[in-house]
C-alpha cells in the first residue's frame, strides 16, 4: 500500500503539492503514480519562468513502459525545476515525495484548496481505483 504523507495536498491526476514557507508550491507525482508507471527513464521538465495553467501539461515522465503527462495543479509560474532528474529520473521511483520532486511553482493567487484533495480524499480515490 502506498504511504500518503499527511502534510501534502493531492490531485485526481496523482500529483502532490507541498506549500513552502516562501509561498511557493513544490509539485511531484505520488507513490501510487510512480509505482503504476514503473522504472522511470526520462523526465521532460519545463523552463524556469514558464507560466502554467491549472490542468495544463507541465512536464512529461517516461518510464520503460510509457510516457505520461504531469499536469499543473494550480495557475502560476515555474520558479525551479529538479535538474537532477535529467541524469537520475529514478529518483522519482525511489523517493517520490522527497528527492523525486519535479517543479516548484509560484502561484498567481491564493490557492483554492477546495479544488485539491486532502490525504483522506486522495486515499479514497486510490481505494476506488483498486476496487
Amino acid at each position: 500500500m502506498s504511504e500518503l504523507p499527511g502534510d501534502l495536498l493531492y490531485t485526481s491526476e496523482h500529483e502532490w503539492l507541498r506549500r513552502e514557507n516562501d509561498g511557493s508550491v513544490t509539485v511531484g507525482v505520488t507513490d501510487h503514480a510512480q509505482s503504476a508507471l514503473g522504472d522511470l527513464v526520462y523526465v521532460e521538465l519545463p523552463e524556469v519562468g514558464q507560466d502554467v495553467d491549472s490542468g495544463g501539461d507541465m512536464a512529461v515522465v517516461e518510464s520503460v513502459k510509457a510516457a505520461s503527462d504531469v499536469y499543473a495543479p494550480i495557475d502560476g509560474s515555474i520558479v525551479a525545476v529538479n535538474e537532477e532528474l535529467a541524469d537520475d529520473p529514478e529518483k522519482i521511483n525511489a523517493d517520490p515525495y522527497g528527492d523525486g520532486w519535479i517543479v516548484r511553482i509560484q502561484p498567481n493567487e491564493s490557492i483554492d484548496e477546495s479544488a485539491l484533495m486532502t490525504p483522506d480524499t486522495y486515499q479514497e480515490l486510490l481505494d476506488q481505483e483498486d476496487a
Binding site: G38, D39, Y42, V60, V64, K65, A67
Partner: protein, 363 residues
C-alpha cells in the same frame, strides 16, 4: 478477468503487477522491469510464456503441407528437434503470424504461435490442412517457461531428469528434444542463450519453484519487450501484421526463395515486391537526443519522405532510446523523429542493438 496460466498463482505470490495481454492475465513485472532486464543480460531470468499457443500437426503429408503454408521452407528441417522461425502469410503476402516450427518426426511437426492471434491462426491452419489430411491439435494442456541468460541453461539443468541432462545441455542452437514429459529447446526471444521448456500444466508450478530456488529471476512481459527490442526481434502486431509484407519488416531472411518452384501461400505478391527498389526500409534507430522513442511516432527523413516507428522504447543495456522503424527507400544514415511535436535526431544503426550481453552498435 482474462485467462490464467498454470503459473498465475506464482505470479500473484511474487507480487507481480498483472496486465491483460491478448485476453490473458500476465505479469508485467515483479517490482522493477529494468532489474529483470539486467538479470537476463547478466545471469538468468524466466518468463511464463504458457499463454502462447502450441499446435501439433500430424499426418503423412505434413511436410508438404507446411512447405505450402509457411514462407520459410521446412525442407531445411532434417535433424530431429530442429526448429525454424518463419512467417505464415495470407494470399496477399501479409503476415498472419510469425512462429517457430519444430521437426519431431516425418509425420509430426510442432508449431508455437502467438497468443493474441490464436483463433485466426488455428482457423487458417485447419482450413489449409484439410487438403493434406493433416490434423492440427492445439495442446492447451501444456505450459511453457522460457529461461534466458548466459547462465540460464546451467541453472535450469536441475529441472531436467538426470538421464536427459547431458543431452539437453549439448543441444545446438535452435534445436529441441523431448526429455521425459518435458520438451526442451534452445530457443528464445531475448538475444541471450537459454531454453524454452514445454511441460504438462500441472508440472509448471514445481518447475517454476525449482528455477526460483536455483536463482533464476522471475521476469515479466515488460522486460521481455525491452529484451527483444534490443535484440531487434520483431513483435507481431507492432512490427508487422496482415497489411505488411515480411520484406517491409526486416524479415527477408526468413523467406526461402529456393527452390523457385515451391508454391507457398503469398509467394506471388512477395516476388513482385522483391524486385521493387522503392520498397520501404526496415531499420534500427538510436536516439541521439534525450527522450524516448515510442511506437507510431513519425519518422522524418529530410528530402526523402516519412516513415513510422513500429517498436520504440528505452534500452536498459545501452541507457538510451532505440527503435525499429519502417522508413522510405533511399541511401541515408540519419533521421528525425517527431516526439510530441519536437523533431529529435536519430541515427540509423545496424541491428541487433544488443546480443549475448554485448552492445553491438557504436554509441
Amino acid at each position: 478477468m482474462g485467462s490464467k496460466t498454470p503459473l498465475y498463482d506464482k505470479h500473484a505470490e511474487a507480487g507481480a503487477r498483472i496486465v491483460d495481454f491478448g485476453g490473458w492475465d500476465m505479469p508485467l513485472h515483479y517490482g522493477s522491469q529494468k532489474e529483470e532486464h539486467h538479470a537476463v543480460r547478466k545471469r538468468a531470468g524466466m518468463f511464463d510464456v504458457s499463454h502462447m499457443t502450441i499446435v501439433d500437426l500430424r499426418g503423412e503429408r505434413v511436410r508438404d503441407f507446411l512447405r505450402n503454408l509457411l514462407a520459410n521452407d521446412v525442407a531445411k528441417l532434417q535433424v530431429h528437434g530442429k526448429a525454424l522461425y518463419t512467417c505464415m502469410l495470407n494470399e496477399q503476402g501479409g503476415v498472419i503470424d510469425d512462429l517457430i516450427v519444430y521437426f519431431l518426426g516425418e509425420t509430426w511437426f510442432r508449431m508455437i504461435v502467438n497468443a493474441a492471434t490464436r483463433d485466426k491462426d488455428l482457423a487458417w491452419i485447419r482450413k489449409h490442412a484439410k487438403g493434406y489430411d493433416v490434423e492440427a491439435d492445439e495442446r492447451a494442456e501444456l505450459a511453457m517457461i522460457a529461461v534466458q541468460g548466459p547462465e540460464a541453461r546451467e541453472l535450469a539443468a536441475t529441472c531436467i531428469d538426470a538421464q536427459w541432462r547431458e543431452q539437453a545441455l549439448a543441444l545446438k542452437l535452435f534445436t529441441g528434444m523431448e526429455a521425459g514429459d518435458l520438451f526442451v529447446a534452445r530457443t528464445g526471444y531475448t538475444g541471450e542463450d537459454g531454453w524454452e521448456i514445454v511441460m504438462p500444466a500441472e508440472k509448471a508450478p514445481a518447475v517454476w519453484d525449482q528455477l526460483l530456488a536455483a536463482g533464476v529471476a522471475p521476469c515479466g512481459l515488460g522486460a521481455r519487450d525491452t529484451l527483444r527490442l534490443e535484440a531487434a526481434m520483431n513483435l507481431y502486431g507492432s512490427d508487422m501484421d496482415e497489411s505488411v509484407l515480411p520484406l517491409e519488416a526486416g524479415l527477408s531472411w526468413t523467406i526461402a526463395w529456393d527452390p523457385d518452384d515451391r508454391d507457398f501461400i503469398g509467394r506471388g505478391p512477395l516476388e513482385a515486391l522483391r524486385a521493387d527498389s522503392t520498397k520501404q526500409r526496415f531499420v534500427g534507430l538510436l536516439l541521439e537526443d534525450k527522450g524516448v522513442l515510442r511506437n507510431h511516432q513519425r519518422v522524418v527523413v529530410e528530402g526523402v519522405g516519412e516513415g513510422e516507428i513500429t517498436s520504440g522504447g528505452f534500452s536498459p543495456t545501452i541507457g538510451r532510446s532505440i527503435a525499429l522503424a519502417r522508413v522510405p527507400a533511399g541511401d541515408y544514415e540519419s533521421a528525425q523523429v517527431d516526439v510530441r511535436g519536437k523533431l529529435l535526431n536519430a541515427r540509423i544503426v545496424k541491428t541487433p542493438f544488443v546480443r549475448n550481453g554485448q552492445i553491438r552498435i557504436d554509441i
